[in-house]
Amino acid sequence: MAYSNKVIDHYENPRNVGSFDKDDASVATGMVGAPACGDVMKLQIKVNADGIIEDAKFKTYGCGSAIASSSLVTEWVKGKSLDEAQQIKNTDIAQELALPPVKIHCSILAEDAIKAAIADYKQKHGG
């Protein structure tokens, strides 16, 4: 199956790979996995005092589309408020990366990862 140029770009030059210290109070972590293909995705956000996501990192073990989806999301969420980041839809990710139907679940995984990270932040901060 052919990957789109955007997927290949993110796959070969993934943005924001890595980890933050999960015990840092400003850091929140979203962990999700896809049983069907065994992909595992970790997405972390660093939120400033104004509730703005100032940095994001990811680590994904999975196919090119899963890596590209999480890489793209870390780019998109930077500078966004938690509420704005919450609005990111898997369909936007799939469209941006021109994912074929069989890879839509990778974009769902990335949407769920950012939602899980936001939920983790709210839980950590009693929201």
Binding site: T29, M31, V32, G33, A34, P35, A36, C37, G38, V40, K42, K59, Y61, I104, H105, I108, L109, D112, A113, A116
Partner: protein, 174 residues
Amino acid sequence: MNYFQLFNLPAKFDLDLTELGSRYLKLQKQFHPDQHSSGSERDKLLAVQQTANINDAYHSLKQPLLRAEHLLALRGLKISHEQRSFTDPLFLMQQMELREQLAEIEQSADPDAVIDDIERQLQQQKKQLLQQLATALDSETAEQDHLAADLIRKLKFFFKLQQELELIEQQLQD
């Protein structure tokens, strides 16, 4: 379609694989399209369809995860095509760590020893999960069925890790 019924076997997770194999061969012979070559077009078509069903059923029942999925589907819990993300953070953290161990194999001083070590971990975890799965499926309650579904999801991650490990092993040998 109830695959267990097709082979006239009890709908249980604990399955006699030798018995399954011999019933499969018998059914396959019985419905082989060649046996129906003198029949009508309709008979021939039915035989071809039935052969396909028998093959599907055999391959699903032979593999523990597919068998467990089929058993749950018969009980009204369909998970084979679900696209829902798995979100158990502790389990996923452990998966992440195992993936990191796999990624570090190549750089290690003694890759074979590391592979053996991971292999042992994977086998042990898989064995445990499969035992829990068997117990959960045997109790036939809705609550235990949902637990079984989660165990199947976890096992899929371990089967994937096993594949990845075998791939690394092959690459190291080449």
